[in-house]
Amino acid sequence: MVDIPLDQVAGIPPAEVGEVELYHPRSWWTRYVFSQDAKVIAVQYSITAMSIGMVALVLSWMMRLQLGFPGTFSFIDANQYLQFITMHGMIMVIYLLTALFLGGFGNYLIPLMVGARDMVFPYVNMLSYWVYLLAVLVLAATFLVPGGPTGAGWTLYPPQAILSGTPGQDWGIVLMLASLILFIIGFTMGGLNYVVTVLQARTRGMTLMRMPLTVWGIFTATVMALLAFPALFVASVMLLLDRLLGTSFFMPTLVEMGQLAKYGGGSPILFQHLFWFFGHPEVYIVALPAFGIISDLISTHARKNIFGYRMMVWAIVAIGALSFVVWAHHMYVSGMHPYFGFFFATTTLIIAIPTAIKVYNWVLTLWRGDIHLTVPMLFALAFIVTFVNGGLTGLFLGNVVVDVPLSDTMFVVAHFHMVMGIAPIMAVFGGIYHWYPKVTGRMLNDVLGKFHFWVTFIGAYAVFFPMHYLGLLGMPRRYHDIGETSFVPASAHDLNAFMSVAALIVGFAQLVFLFNLVWSLLKGKEAGGNPWGATSLEWQTPETPPGHGNWGKNLPIVYRWAYDYSVPGAARDFVPQNEPPSGVVAQGAHS
């Protein structure tokens, strides 16, 4: 065997700069509370996001109780129902999913997967979390202020969002906007970190086209978020000024409770454009990390390389770019110029093509694999079912004229819950079951995991699949009670009751999941460093959980892509990214 010097192996550049000294914590406080270690920040982000997410889950129970059994629960009235839907939506989309995917998964996985010791700006990263926590606290405070949280709907459309006919007009809307502004400030600090770390701190040999798709998904989503959130930021600031100082950015001449209001000349539609210029990319900010995670789960647990890696990367980038020119498909019936419909319907349906490619490549990865039906794999399969279902109903709503009868009905609610509620949550759960062993050193309990999976998947499908048909029937969204109509049959109420029962059962299963998280931390099976036999770098750390600085003395060197599973002729059914090709001098031996 001939020794091949490292600098002659393709794709391994020489180390150009030395390593920068890491920040080392000196006390318990700086190690576990005001930590600058991305792994600790990731756990902080995840716990905070899941805690506020539990609030949103409880709110969804309240909504389902009201919808399934209208009039039965005297503690829910029309105002509260609107407050519940508003807070549920805002929390789930922004404070749970965005924070969990980018702040949670991003912080934990980016440095480990690209072979870095930490994020490039650890102090800013720490600040990002604390500002996020403040945003969550301000949001939670709206439950305690006079008048309660805003009931303007999660889209916060003016004029009603800041007028007296809407609950929470006093304090709720002000704190909501303040919280959003804080969230965006916090996110920007984290987001810059994720982008610069991916671009600048990859280890030797980790070319962009060798990165795991999880990193590609989170990276692209973060770039998008950095471009999209500013639109929400300015919209929030302007709406806050309209509310507090009486400016009229979004407020035309109008009557408020019979009196002419002191507004004039503003445009309510402008807010909608700004909101959806953020809001549509936001869908993909949540979806792209899920795409990446699912790709890695399927490949690892099917013991097969991801099919069409390059196409998968380009599909992520194409979806990210296209998602900035489709926003007005949320506004087909907003009263904007009707000719916009031609353009936005076309761009929207074009997105279906790269998205479909991703789905094909996932199922083609399963083809001729060696499919281990582990809990992460089950969640990945459920992701494909719910994502395909929700993606296909997107073709209804994106096709402008089909959207006309369906918009603002329960069909829309069913669609977006399936595609950006259930599907990304499946990816979150799959990801947690997959990486929990790395984070804690212990496996999550398998029996509880399978129970959690089946109840959540079948239950959530039973809630949201039939819901489409209530929308077809014409049942509008954001109604606490459909009341007397000539077109809703009594059987629809039975269906609503069924969906509510299913939703409560799904909610219960999440308690089992939380119990599993805590119980396994104490009593779970020891995981070892690489329980799934995975190739990517985070599984090759010298310690599990990874220590401060991740890699011990020497950074890993990457020789191959992240998907060398079942390579013909290889000794094992996976080849880690940092395993040198035969003949290359092992790391550290050559200097």
Binding site: A78, P268, I269, I353, L366, W367, D408, P476, S486, Y565
Partner: protein, 277 residues
């Protein structure tokens, strides 16, 4: 294999639910049957894709689930296959988009003979205004809203004096006549939504939006608000009564004009050319 079977059952149950469940759209009462057709076409295409993907996945789980000694394939990519799948998807997308855009073009092109009808939304009731015998609606402005002039009509506009104002009562429309529905709000966003008409559009304070339709059958239809407008959004109701021309005119005769309501001038009751075009 239980997992493969359950995946397959999810797809089958979805299809059976689609076919046999009693929840489906309301019988249509307007000319927008093409919208229903486009939805049906979309159901066929997307349903086929859904079933194909799930069935393929279930097959893979059944056929390739883990067994000791199974050697998975190693095939990083297959350009030809990926290319064909992309082209196939593009064809499916065009098959849905093209008819969709054609129908959208009809939807946004108001026929010249359509009669104007104004719908005014306010928290939380519906009002309507029909042009008088001059066939034209007068101008309006939210600044003019008062208890005597709740719709904010311009008292100095001669076109508006004979406008028929229907406040907080049902709207009547003649069957078979195209109407351009002009949508106006004096406070927040609303959306004039009649499920049987299929059409809907938001109303925005400060501008006038519109859509058009031709009622195709007589009957009484619920009006709902489809854009969140505050606390009583769900109670903002009205009805549209589509009736034969003769009954419609009988109703119209009994309505009051803006001038009569504002007590300025007793304009003769609205009289309409019957059977025009």
């Amino acid at each position: 294999m239980a997992v493969a079977l359950i995946l397959l059952l999810v797809a089958i149950a979805s299809v059976l639910f689609h076919v046999y469940s009693p929840w489906w759209w309301t019988p249509i009462a307007s000319n927008w049957r093409y919208i229903d057709d486009t939805i049906n076409l979309t159901f066929w295409i997307t349903g086929a894709v859904f079933c194909a993907v799930i069935a393929f996945m279930a097959y893979c789980v059944f056929r390739f689930h883990h067994k000791e000694g199974r050697q998975p394939a190693y095939n990083p990519e297959n350009k030809k296959l990926e290319w064909w799948l992309s082209v196939g998807t593009a064809i499916g997308v065009v098959a849905m988009l093209a008819p969709g855009l054609v129908v959208w073009h009809q939807f946004v092109t108001v026929p010249a003979d359509a009669t104007d009808v104004e719908v005014v939304g306010q928290q939380w009731m519906w009002s309507y205004r029909l042009p008088g015998k001059d066939g034209r609606l007068g101008t309006s402005d939210a600044r003019l809203v008062s208890s005597e002039n709740p719709l904010g009509l311009n008292p100095n506009d001669p076109n508006g004096q004979d406008d028929v104002v229907v406040q907080n009562e049902d709207l009547h429309l003649p069957v078979g006549k195209s109407v351009k529905v002009l949508l106006r709000s004096i406070d927040v966003l609303h959306d004039f939504y009649v499920p049987e008409f299929r059409a809907k559009m938001d109303m925005i304070p400060g501008s006038v939006t519109y859509y058009w339709l031709t009622p195709t059958r007589t009957g009484t239809f619920d009006v709902l608000c489809a854009e969140l407008c505050g606390a009583a959004h769900a109670q903002m109701r009205s009805r549209v009564i589509v009736e034969e021309e003769k009954e419609y005119h009988a109703w119209l005769e009994k309505q009051r004009t803006f001038a009569a309501l504002s007590g300025q001038r007793d304009v003769a009751k609205a009289a309409y050319k019957t059977g025009s075009k």
